[in-house]
Amino acid sequence: MKIKNVRCVHINAPVVKPGPDTRPGWNTHAPRSQPIARYPYFKRVDGNKPGSTSKAWVQITAEDGTYGLGSFAHGPMGAALIDNFIAPLIEGRDALATELLNDLIWRSQESYQGGIATAAQSGVDLALWDLKGKLLGRPVYELIGGPSRNSVELYATGDDLEWMMELGFKRFKISCPFFYEEGSEGLSKLEEHVARSREIVGDEAELMLNPVMSFNADLALRVAERLRPYRLRWFEEPLPPWDLEGLQDLKRAMTWTALATGEHHYGRKQFRQLVAARAVDIIQPDIEWAGGLSETLKIYTYAEAAGIETIAHMGGNRPWGQHFACAMPESSLAEWFLDTDVGQPVGDRLMPGVPAAINGKVVPSDAPGFGLEIPEEWIVPWNHGGQKRAVYDAP
């Protein structure tokens, strides 16, 4: 079965407004530290920081009219790559040959792979897996060797802890409002935040902290020591992805808390270094950024062979993350990012066909592909111009 068409699209989904008995969730107002926080005149609320981009979708149609869908980060930049360079490279080729198609894309992007290009490739790969599942009539988790479990255990990310507990979650990851230039005063505020969170969730619940690359290795260790009494399950991405030596030093010194990182690592080559250096306890590839499902499976294999667990970034909210965690034995947990308001159903922002969390667990769809049920009329061509579509030699 050949690929007939590859195109970047926008999903024109209606926005569900929170009901009258809700209040704005943490995601709308909680200050979060990220690298750009060095400059205090930028707001720290997610979505408003410089560099924030929206996601886009890829639709890949086979010659019999069956199509698959996948989404990826940094949509406006990646869309030009997909429509003008990746589409002419893979159209007309075998739709099921995901290894070949990914290899073609990797090799065509040898001078700029990673970052935006790898995020764009992720969307293409996910659309290919959705298409493969539909053509073969099987859910993706079966195609990659699952199921390994009947449901996927979730941890919730957010600061609305009472609401998250009411929803049935038992594991929680909280935000970090503290950037490394804020000194001891900022560190004290962070300790208050963590102490209050531990008091709310209780002694037995798992609690994690995510500083999103806001520290250097020295401060990360001092923060970890200060927070030691609160028994964090893991300390997530305290350093930028390029500081491999810093991660190694931190992991060796921070024996009381696991070190997790990976959402800003792109592709198996970066993860191979991370695993080989024993620089981390848990890896967290983002399936929409790191190269798609094909690449995440290879990353998983490196980690699994080294005794390191893979817990995909934002895996619980997305169909690909649900299928991945359902299938892979050493991925026993997935993240549920709470992007809805307090009191609002947690499934309100999901695409049709994507199951929502219930009592801290999620059961992936068993429909063919990833099980997406997006109405065709919602799918509209991506609007961009200027760049001409490439013309390559025929397969």
Binding site: A97, E99, L100, D103
Partner: protein
Amino acid sequence: MAATESPMAEYWLGTDPGVLLEETARIPGTATPVNGRIVPSTAPGFGMEIEAGDISKWDGRIG
């Protein structure tokens, strides 16, 4: 056939000189090399065509 960084495979020649490859004992349904290349079966699974009657319970023999 599927993995891009596996461009070559070994074909172990267990037959005498002069014996045609298609006449050698092999699993029914699997392909025979032609001019140094082999095309795997496109049938479901690995494409093996072993008759059910030819399959018996392992008898525990060693060697």
